[in-house]
């Protein structure tokens, strides 16, 4: 028999505080190990006062390091050269698997505005403005190891990386000073990787609050409705309210697709910047 959803929800409610506090530094695994690794190196090379003294410093120029000549005046090592070559290959590989150079379109007449890793989707509907904001940083949940027989892919194939950012929906009515703001997220289901019996909604509302229109900072003094212990009938009305404004499961699916493409685009851009920086071009 399937695991009972209603029982699972009881357990989920107990665990929700832990899951909502998931670390912001979720890093993808296999295909992007370089990112994890480079961060480790970065933390080793931190130049805080405590790390000085006799402790060896990896990226500090010393006479012992082999250097290559360059007119830019910066340090160049054999390691940098190998790093640059690695990045060239990595960028080539990432571009090969990039589905499209442009971002997928959202259906429903949403206007997209990009600012680095942050995306804003806007739509006006009968005197109301709906704005969705999300950031692709730290939006990829860690991939869980799966039993080989449970996956349809071959053992050599890596799992798809999907970006599932938290997103904020802001609904503003004409002539009002505050907006109704929904903090939404894609639940990290234990079984949602692959073809398991996922039991969570595609997306869910975590918090609801009135916030001054156009303010980027969350006003902590506004009452915030937490959906963890909410009357479910009210929750359903809130979900229907969003659906009426074009924020439904289809939207969430498309948002995931767009976020995945944007994250990949930004990753490649980062690798290119890193390559330029390392090679000093």
């Amino acid at each position: 028999m399937l695991k009972s959803v209603s029982r699972a929800v009881q357990l989920a409610a107990r665990l929700s505080s832990r899951s909502s506090a998931s670390p912001a530094s979720a890093i993808s695994s296999a295909p992007r190990l370089s990112r994890t690794f480079s961060r480790s190196i970065w933390s080793l090379s931190g130049s805080s006062g405590a790390s000085s003294g006799s402790r060896p410093r990896l990226l500090t120029a010393t006479r012992a390091l082999p250097t290559l000549s360059c007119g830019c005046g910066s340090l160049h090592t054999e390691g940098d050269k190998a790093f640059g070559e690695f990045l060239t290959d990595e960028i080539k590989e990432e571009k090969k698997i990039q589905k499209n150079a442009s971002l997928p379109k959202m259906s429903g007449g949403w206007e997209l505005d990009l600012n680095g890793t942050e995306a804003k989707l806007t739509r006006s509907l009968a005197g109301e403005k709906v704005t969705i904001t999300f950031n692709v940083n730290n939006s990829i949940p860690p991939q869980l190891e799966e039993e080989p027989e449970q996956t349809q892919k071959g053992p050599e194939e890596e799992p798809d990386i999907v970006s599932t950012p938290n997103f904020v929906v802001e609904v503003t009515k004409q002539g009002t000073k505050s907006s109704l703001v929904f903090d939404c997220h894609f639940p990290e289901d234990e079984t949602s990787h692959g073809e398991g019996e996922e039991e969570s909604d595609i997306f869910s509302i975590r918090e609801v609050s009135f916030q001054p229109e156009g303010d980027t900072d969350w006003k902590e003094t506004s009452y915030t409705l937490n959906t963890d212990s909410l009357d479910w009938a009210l929750y359903d009305h809130l979900m229907d309210f969003l659906a009426d404004r074009g924020v439904d499961n289809t939207f969430a699916d498309e948002l995931m697709e767009m976020s995945t493409a944007l994250e990949h685009q930004e990753y490649i851009k980062f690798l290119e910047n890193l390559s330029t920086f390392v090679k000093c071009k």
């Binding site: 959803v5 209603s6 969570s200 909604d201």
Partner: protein
């Protein structure tokens, strides 16, 4: 906790508040308000997979029920000792399949979902339709539940009339 409603599909736009209200009325008529129950709305692909895995039938269907109590005598509520035993189980609604049926017969989707859910709750309560006798017993129960639903809401719902055994 009551009714856990999940919508895992993107094919059919659903009105969650209406579904909850209708199912809550059904639960009241069945006399099972105190019991938890899960209703999970899925598309054809997923219900076909569940149908294949649990019933070895590789086709989409409208409803699959997974009773928490598997050996109930039809219509007899389980004897419950602890709070977490107030659970009837889960009903998977193949909402895409139901929508296709509704289009063919020009019926209202949410009304039909109520009928299909009533059928699913009957299964959670031990009703079966493998034999003629079982079918009649289940048909009677569904008719009664829906007639009460109609009386309370002014609807005109009819029980699932086709003879089928494609549910669990």
């Amino acid at each position: 906790m009551g009714l856990v409603l999940r919508n895992l599909q993107t094919v059919v736009p659903l009105r969650r508040a209406r579904m909850r209200k209708d199912v809550d009325i059904l639960r009241h008529i069945f006399g099972v308000q105190r019991f938890d129950m899960g209703i999970i709305c899925v598309d054809n692909r997923r219900i076909q997979r569940i149908n294949r895995v649990y019933r070895r039938r590789d086709q989409p269907t409208d409803v699959l029920a997974f009773p928490f109590y598997e050996d109930l005598r039809p219509g007899k509520l389980p004897c419950v000792l602890q709070r977490d035993e107030y659970n009837l189980g889960d009903i998977f609604l193949g909402v895409e399949c139901v929508m296709q049926q509704c289009r063919e017969t020009s019926q209202d989707l949410h009304q039909t979902l109520t009928v299909v859910t009533a059928h699913g709750i009957c299964h959670l309560l031990g009703y079966r339709h493998e034999t003629e006798e079982e079918w009649n017993e289940m048909q009677q129960k569904e008719s009664y539940i829906l007639s009460e639903f109609n009386r309370l809401t002014g609807s005109r719902l009819q029980p699932l009339t086709k003879r089928c055994s494609h549910h669990t």
